[in-house]
């Protein structure tokens, strides 16, 4: 059929399954998607420019609002770069606290994804079960930081307040109860033939394409590349905990689903170890605490990469010796993951296009920045 007879249809920016404000310009031949072109930028607020105008410590709140479903991963990513640039060391205790929080955030982010993926396929029930579990995590975040989602818990030189006994008890409860609940959610999806038929063998992403498009995180690991920044370039104390990287060689939707579920189990394993190993010590480096008039200054350029729930989250900060960063550049993993969508969703049905875009785990706070 000639391309002039294709129907052009906009999915989004306001659409029930576009996970925010993604707009997909699709050319349809009946039910078959012939071409799609993602259009982004509807949530663009230029966080990089805002970061140039703010002090090093204050930038953190803009990072919270990037991956808003797993905010502490973003904080860890920014602080990895900022602390190197400002030459501020952090104590062992802070490192362990950050690992715990980053892994709990990863679970929280994956739970949102799992629920939303059920919704994408028309399955309403797992969504609520996922959010009930996530609510427990948000309660823990509230206990340590005072707020639920955009926690703003960490700061240059440590964390704002020490982790409390109550929070540790809550985390221990969560670690004890979560595996069973996770299994329930897993079974809800995996023991369903229709779910398997919607995911198995659909949206196959091969290794070379994935690497070339800069795809990272669970998507890359589902395509058979064993690349996890936590292992490749261990930051914080990831070299002192014992965990595995789930890898699948199929590269289809199902592989991505399985990898993410296994990642939640591994994160839980890390939290379990970290809770036992967490040492005593100061929760804040007083060197970072300057009075209001004297601010921290940084010079040089630093790139730090961390493994967020979506992939390799990198922050590149250039300092010119001033109190504000000269240039901040954020490597958004989801942006690269999204850029591979036109390759994946070629000559597939509309329903498959939705199923594929669901496995990319898009969060628009991070893509548009």
């Amino acid at each position: 059929m000639p391309s002039s007879e294709w129907v052009e249809l906009n999915f989004g920016p306001q659409h029930p399954s576009m996970h925010g404000v993604l707009r997909l310009k699709a050319k349809l031949d009946g039910e078959i998607v012939k071409e799609i072109e993602p259009v982004i930028g509807y949530l663009h607020r230029n966080a990089e420019k805002i970061c140039e105008m703010t002090y090093f410590n204050d930038n953190l709140i803009y990072f919270d609002r990037m991956d808003y479903v797993g905010a502490m991963n973003m904080e860890v990513g920014y602080l990895e770069a900022a602390e190197k640039l400002l030459d501020i060391s952090i104590s062992e205790r802070v490192k362990w606290i950050r690992v715990i929080m980053a892994e709990l955030s990863r679970i929280a982010a994956h739970l949102v994804w799992a629920g939303a993926y059920g919704l994408d396929l028309g399955m309403l029930t797992p969504f609520f079960h996922c959010f009930i579990e996530r609510e427990k995590l948000l309660t823990i975040f509230t206990e340590v930081s005072g707020s639920r989602q955009e926690v703003n818990y960490m700061c240059v030189g440590g964390v704002y307040q020490d982790i409390t006994e109550k929070a540790i008890a809550e985390i221990e409860d969560f670690v004890r109860e979560f595996p069973k609940r996770l299994k329930d959610i897993f079974n809800m999806l995996m023991k369903n033939d229709i779910f398997l038929s919607r995911t198995k063998g659909i949206g196959i992403l091969d290794k070379e394409t994935a690497i070339s498009y800069g795809v990272t995180g669970p998507m890359l690991r589902a395509s058979g590349v064993e690349y996890d920044v936590r292992k490749a370039e261990p930051y914080l104390v990831y070299d002192q905990v014992n965990f595995d990287i789930p890898v699948s060689y199929k590269g289809d939707n199902l592989a991505r689903v399985l990898v993410r579920f296994e990642e939640m189990r591994q994160s839980l394993k890390i939290v379990e170890q970290a809770i036992k190993k967490i040492p005593d010590g100061p929760y804040f480096n007083p060197k970072a605490k300057k009075s209001l008039m004297i601010r921290m200054r940084g010079e040089g350029d630093v790139y730090a990469r961390t493994e967020s729930s979506k992939g390799e989250f990198g922050v590149y900060i250039v300092g010119d010796g001033g109190v504000k960063p000269y240039r901040v550049r954020v490597r958004s993993p989801t942006l690269r993951n999204l850029s591979v969508l036109p390759e994946l969703a070629k000559d597939v049905m509309i329903a498959d296009m939705i199923a594929i875009s669901g496995t990319l785990d898009l969060v628009f706070g991070e893509i548009d920045r």
Partner: protein, 346 residues
């Protein structure tokens, strides 16, 4: 003795014709009220049931246990502004929700409900060919959906309408084939085998026991027709926003919504009448209506469970399922029914 005749007796001082007309009007009014109330109850039960499955509480603010929630929602829908798309095809656009809802209510007038104490049966239409009437009316409902999709000048709605057509074409056939099997079997025992009432009165075992394959095929077709989640292709909300009802708001949308729940209820009633013995219960009594409602309610709950635990099937696999599996199975069922009928004839 059914309600119609009792009403006619009541109005008989007004003359023969007038009393019949009045009786029909009141009876129809009864039926509309019955349908509306049962829909409201159903939607309430659905929301509570869904909430329990999803570990929530469900409606609990308006009235005791949220019993008045549905009334509040209905008032909200009525009070809402009707937003009309600019390029709509006006008449079909406005007609479509009415077609869906009216044909739904019409279908309810035909079903044999069984006795309810001294009141008798609710059934309005008595005819020798009620099966033909019933499935004719059922076939009208999708026309409303298609009209809605085509007339609202929206690509999502159009795609939804196309899907609705594809779905109906591939699932009416196995549905009718399995009904045919029942008619065939009933014809061995009753001369008027196209009438639902005589099918019911002539059966010695529920047809669901005699032909479980037919029950299976028919129930699946009814699920597909009511279009809820494994088969809600016409309005798959994560793909086509809301399918054929994308451009509808206010009470017009409410009619589609009620049409969907009504289809579930209607489907459950038809399945229990044709396959599960309808109004006949384990003990002989004048409680046929209650038995029917209990059977239908169980089927409705099964439908809700399916709805809430399944993802949506892809359109091509769905059509394949209809043509490649259901129709051959329905054919086999037909042959089996023929063999059983022959056995009776001997």
């Amino acid at each position: 003795m059914n309600i119609l005749l009792r009403l006619q007796e009541l109005f008989s001082p007004l003359g023969h014709l007038a009393s019949y007309i009045l009786a029909y009007i009141f009876e129809s009014l009864f039926l509309v009220i019955f349908v509306t109330i049962s829909l409201i109850v159903m939607i309430y039960v659905f929301r509570k049931y869904m909430a329990r499955i999803q570990q929530r509480i469900g409606p609990n603010r308006v009235g005791k246990f949220g019993l008045l929630q549905l009334i509040a929602d209905a008032l909200k829908l009525v009070g809402k502004e009707n937003i009309l798309p600019k390029n709509r095809d006006d008449l079909p656009y406005k007609l479509a929700p009415a077609i869906v809802f009216v044909s739904l209510v019409l279908a309810f007038t035909i079903l044999p409900y069984g006795d309810f104490f001294y009141l008798g049966s609710f059934t309005v239409t008595h005819s020798e060919v009620t099966i033909v009437l019933l499935f004719g009316i059922i076939a009208i409902m999708p026309i409303g959906e298609v009209l809605a999709g085509v007339s609202s000048a929206n690509k999502y709605a159009l795609l939804g309408a196309l899907r609705a057509v594809a779905k109906d074409v591939s699932f009416e056939i196995p549905m009718m084939l399995s009904v045919l099997a029942i008619v065939m079997m009933a014809s061995a025992r009753t001369p008027s085998s196209l009438s639902l009432e005589s099918i019911l009165s002539s059966e010695f075992l529920p047809y669901g026991i005699l032909e479980p394959i037919g029950l299976f095929v028919f129930f699946i077709s009814m699920v597909a027709r009511a279009s809820y989640t494994p088969f809600d292709l016409g309005e798959s909300d994560s793909e086509l926003v809301s399918g054929h009802s994308t451009e509808y708001s206010g009470m017009r949308f409410g009619m589609f919504y009620m049409g969907m729940f009504g289809s579930i209820f209607l489907g459950s009633l038809i399945v229990s009448i044709l396959y599960l013995g309808g109004p006949s219960g384990p003990v002989e009594s004048s409680l046929g209506f209650i038995w029917l409602i209990i059977k239908a309610a169980i089927l409705v709950l099964i439908s809700f469970t399916v709805w809430l635990s399944m993802p949506r099937i892809r359109i091509d696999k769905f059509i394949n399922f209809g043509w490649k599996y259901l129709i051959p199975i329905a054919m086999i069922n037909l042959i089996l029914a023929g063999i059983i009928t022959l056995g009776w004839g001997l």
